[in-house]
């Protein structure tokens, strides 16, 4: 039996008096960003929240004026809460048989995380350190480097069932990024690839609406996995990929769990 979706609740006859107002408020969100409509549909289709969760959101949405900023704040608070994460990383445990996971991240974004988290005070320092990491074997990493986080807030990782390399087999770097849902632009610079293992204490989970929309940055390629899905799936970019790579979310891990040296994709 599936959990009710917001779509079912909002459209149900009993909620009709509030329904138009809530839909109006949420519709405003579709105008706030080029991918606001996708966020709206993902919210309506998210299958992993309980009826009481949705009723809480409906109540909060019905108490505000419908202003976009206010609406976004309600949705973010519903997902993330402040300061403690409320519904982030709470999807069902992913059913996968992989031991090695991977993620790609722009070189500059990773350096920015090290700067934000206080490991360095200047981007030049962070860049030089990451370049040094690229040249160094894992067993020669100093203790400081092993403490570096490989993400912020929540990590989105890809994998391939029973394969030692988590990244899809593709002929070119461009195809790999396409399968991972990444649009290359001149502004994004070079991309780093991390391969890592997860300790038993960290559980990979199916990504949910809240994982994608709780923070100040939205993932434009996220789509809500259906109820019962074993894991998420990346929405691929470009025309060549028919199917995106598998995707899970989990707590942020550190570089001590890297399974292979850092790689820089051209």
């Amino acid at each position: 039996m599936t959990e009710p979706s917001l779509f079912h609740l909002v459209l149900s006859a009993g909620l009709e008096p509030r329904s138009a107002r809530i839909r109006g408020a949420l519709f405003q969100v579709t105008l706030a960003s080029p991918v606001g409509d996708r966020m709206y549909h993902n919210l309506l289709l998210e299958p992993h929240r309980s009826a009481s969760d949705w009723n809480e959101l409906i109540t909060k949405l019905s108490e505000i004026s419908g202003d976009i900023i206010e609406t976004l704040k309600v949705v973010r608070d519903f997902c993330g809460g402040n300061p403690a994460p409320k519904r982030i990383g709470t999807g069902p445990q992913a059913k996968i048989s992989s031991t090695v996971f991977g993620r790609v991240i722009p070189f500059e974004s990773f350096c920015a995380i090290l700067l934000k988290e206080g490991y360095h005070v200047e981007m030049a320092q962070a860049r030089a350190t990451v370049r040094a990491m690229l040249r160094r074997a894992l067993d020669r990493f100093p203790e400081d480097w092993k403490r570096y986080p490989l993400g912020m807030y929540l990590m989105w990782s890809t994998f391939r069932p029973n394969e030692p390399d988590p990244f899809p087999e593709t002929t070119t770097g461009g195809d790999l990024l396409s399968a991972l849902g990444i649009e290359r632009t001149s502004a994004s610079g070079t991309i780093l690839a991390f391969r890592y293992t997860l300790p038993t204490s960290i559980v990979p989970r199916v990504p949910t609406f809240c994982d994608a929309y709780a923070g100040p940055v939205w993932n434009p390629y996220f789509r809500v996995p259906p109820f019962g899905a074993e894991h998420g799936r990346v929405r691929p970019v470009g025309l060549h990929e028919r199917r995106g790579a598998g995707e899970v979310v989990h707590e942020v891990i550190t570089a001590s769990l890297l399974a292979a040296p850092l790689e820089e994709l051209p």
Partner: protein, 380 residues
Amino acid sequence: VTPNVTAASQFVDPRHAETMTVAEMATSVRQILSGDVPALSRYPDDLPHVCVERVYRVFGAPARAVFHDALLLLLQRIEPLELTQDSDWIDELLLLISATLPESAAKERAISLLMHLYSLTDRTSLLAMRALASLIALRYRAPPDYWKSIYNVPNERLAQIVIRGLALWSLDEVFAWLSEIYWADESLAALRATMPLFLQDFGPEALQPRLEFLLKRIAAEQRRKLTTLCEAIGLVMSSKELTTTTTKLPRRVRVTRERAESLRLQLDSWTATGDPSQTRQLLVEAQSVLDSSACVAALEREATRALTESDYPKEYIKHLVSVTFWYVDEYGSLLGADTSLRLASLALANENAVLAPQERMRRIVDSVEEAANYDDEERR
């Protein structure tokens, strides 16, 4: 749709950004930095300022100029209360300024606004450190004493800032400061975090002698850790430098006025009558707690006394000469050429005074031959 959100939506599309005013751009940037309006990225853990910077990179020159002014406007309008209550967007703003203003015409104005912002912050707060880090990103060459003065508590991030601030002047400034401060794990961590950049910018040839200089001036435990760090980054310190440093450093403690005063009194009353190793120990500590001038004054005073007093014992002169040459050798790079030469001349004069006539003649002949060889080489 509120006008503010419309502006933010336009901002993420560079074609629309070209037509925005400074005020509209400022509003949009602020909304994105504070998370009121979502930025878009395939990497949901991207930071808002990174997303904004990515959009900025594809702006044309006119939109960039508007963007720079918008950042200045936001910086100017920060209320003191926001520094304590709602500071995350300010943190993001400072990171954005560091990334986008270094090469802009708005840089000088940004520097004065950042200095003002720093004056409003709690000096131990993360925001204060971020403001200082932004000054460094903008390559603001504050006088070395300014950077040194902000290091009032052992703190790794603060130490990194001072190191980077001094590095805008020279590596010598960095290592002279590192040899002067109370050396703790924070200092080591800060140096370690900066080492890849120093290696990249200056190369191992420039770092090695300075690290050796530093190794001789820190306590044994920290020396061991720093040596391990040097080895980890592929720098092999010369064994001579590490094994011949026999001076036992006293346990470093926080520098107090009383300790400085006590050392000054010891230097004022110092004579070359004791054990040379104790003199070296006194000079090492005084050099780190006080400054070179106190040590130089003590050595000059005693050298002058040895030259002018006919009954000054010869064994004390030998002590004085060996200690003076050791001191010039150790700290010459900090003293400067004039002071080093003056001290060395005094030591030579005293050494000549105690030499036997034959030995003195042999040295004169040696030095004349050396000068002649030098002239020949110069001519070639």
